[in-house]
């Protein structure tokens, strides 16, 4: 089961007759608004703007915030797909606004933009990330070693580095965790992102805390709650094979316990 998506066709929009030279199109952005200082209800609001379809959704949000409605609230920092601040649910699928081109979203139909699910919405597209980072903290995402510190770098072979290469790419945007139906129903589940970051150290040959982390993920809210719906793998803007990483942790648990 994939994250339900609203758009079907990915065809590029035709340039309007008479404006063949202009790259601009008129696109409608249907944004889920919530402001607790005004109303307890969240509502959809449509914004029609003229924009180049080769721009990104983040550019459209900027245009709306800067030129149409300054109260629109969202997070973004680097705006280039590295900081992981602007994960949102665009056309029903978790993505980074700064990596999603408008032309890929069939902009002839309204493009829906809403906050990621499973976390408390604070305002418009901003959610409370504390539970997400709590799960991240709980898997101890740092190097754990015994004995004295070496006087030089901790060397590692290319093969050993390759073992966990995929999970080093995580930018903690929460697109995976907030696409997980188990996390929606029970926020105490560690969630894909925390497991990915545990995987990054469990399979690091320099780290000696793997057993501790496996013990943490062996618990009631750990990897065994994963239902392999692959929503996380579909959602990851970095292309991490999240479900595979979770399965590798499960396998490590089983092989190390027997």
């Amino acid at each position: 089961m994939a994250t339900p998506t609203l758009e079907k066709s990915g065809k590029a929009p035709e340039p309007e007759a008479g404006f063949a030279d202009s790259p601009y199109i008129t696109a409608t952005f249907r944004i889920r608004r919530f402001n607790p200082e005004v109303s307890e209800d969240a509502q959809w609001q449509d914004f029609q703007i003229s924009i180049d379809p080769k721009e990104r959704v983040l550019d459209a949000l900027h245009k709306i915030k800067w030129e149409v409605d300054g109260t629109l609230t969202f997070r973004r920092s680097c705006a280039h797909g590295i900081c992981g601040s602007d994960a949102m649910r665009i056309n029903g699928k978790n993505r980074l606004a700064c990596k999603t081109l408008i032309k890929d979203l069939s902009p002839e139909k309204p493009i829906t933009v809403e906050a990621i699910k499973g976390l408390t919405v604070l305002k418009d597209l901003v959610v409370d990330m504390d539970p997400f980072f709590q799960a991240y903290r709980d898997v101890m995402p740092f190097l754990i070693t015994k004995g004295n510190e070496p006087t030089r770098e901790r060397l590692q072979s290319a093969e050993d580095r390759e073992r966990f290469d995929d999970t080093t790419k995580c930018i903690l945007c929460a697109a995976c965790t907030s696409s997980c139906p188990v996390f929606w129903n029970d926020g105490q589940y560690f969630g894909p992102a925390a497991i990915v970051n545990a995987h990054r150290f469990i399979f690091d040959s320099r780290d000696e805390g793997g057993e501790q982390r496996l013990e943490i993920l062996n618990d009631r809210d750990g990897v065994w709650r994963c239902r392999t719906t692959f929503n996380c793998t579909d959602a990851c803007p970095r292309g991490i094979e999240v479900t595979k990483a979770i399965q590798e942790v499960k396998r490590a648990l089983i092989t190390r316990r027997f």
């Binding site: 608004r33 109303s39 409605d69 408390t120 539970p131 943490i216 618990d219 648990l253």
Partner: protein, 161 residues
């Protein structure tokens, strides 16, 4: 959305709209069920969840054989469903092989199903009390069915009148 206009207009003399929420009295936010905090209890330190997960996979494989075999014998082969009667069951349970087959199927299917439902309850029951009582009901029903079935298989007497 009222954000675009109401805040800009501000207070109008005499017409004062009943504003329920403002910066000092924000509306309640909708919290997700059971969110993780620093106080979230740590695990029990047992391997129970791992064994439960493994049991689901292994019992599933065995059940495919047992259940498909059972369905074939009961419903398809040798006259189909019309042949099933007291005599048919009595005849099969005279053999230890079919006793073991049915016993294994009963235990595996009941535990497999119960563990699946336990997972569903863990996922969907939001309040601790609801979750506890649903699971108690499930465990009671499971134990009752497994014990009753086992009793019948072992004490079955074909000469009943």
């Amino acid at each position: 959305m009222s954000t675009e206009s109401t805040s800009a207009i501000g207070e109008v003399e005499g017409v004062e709209p009943p504003r329920r929420y403002d910066a000092d009295h924000p509306a309640p936010v909708i919290e997700p069920p059971r969110k993780r905090t620093g106080k979230t209890p740590k695990g029990s330190g047992t391997n129970f969840e791992m064994y439960a997960w493994l049991f689901m996979r292994l019992s599933g494989i065995v059940l495919v054989v047992l259940v498909i075999g059972h369905l074939l014998i009961q419903l398809v082969l040798d006259g189909g469903v019309s042949k099933i009667g007291f005599a048919f069951v009595a005849g099969r349970w005279a053999s230890p092989f079919w006793q073991v087959w049915d016993l294994t199927m009963l235990w595996l299917a009941m535990l497999h199903g119960a563990n699946g439902l336990r997972t569903v309850i863990n996922d969907y029951a939001e309040r601790d009390n609801t979750r506890f009582w649903l699971k108690m009901l499930l465990y009671t029903a499971t134990v009752f069915t497994v014990l009753l079935g086992t009793l019948v298989i072992f004490t079955f007497d074909p000469n009943i009148r």
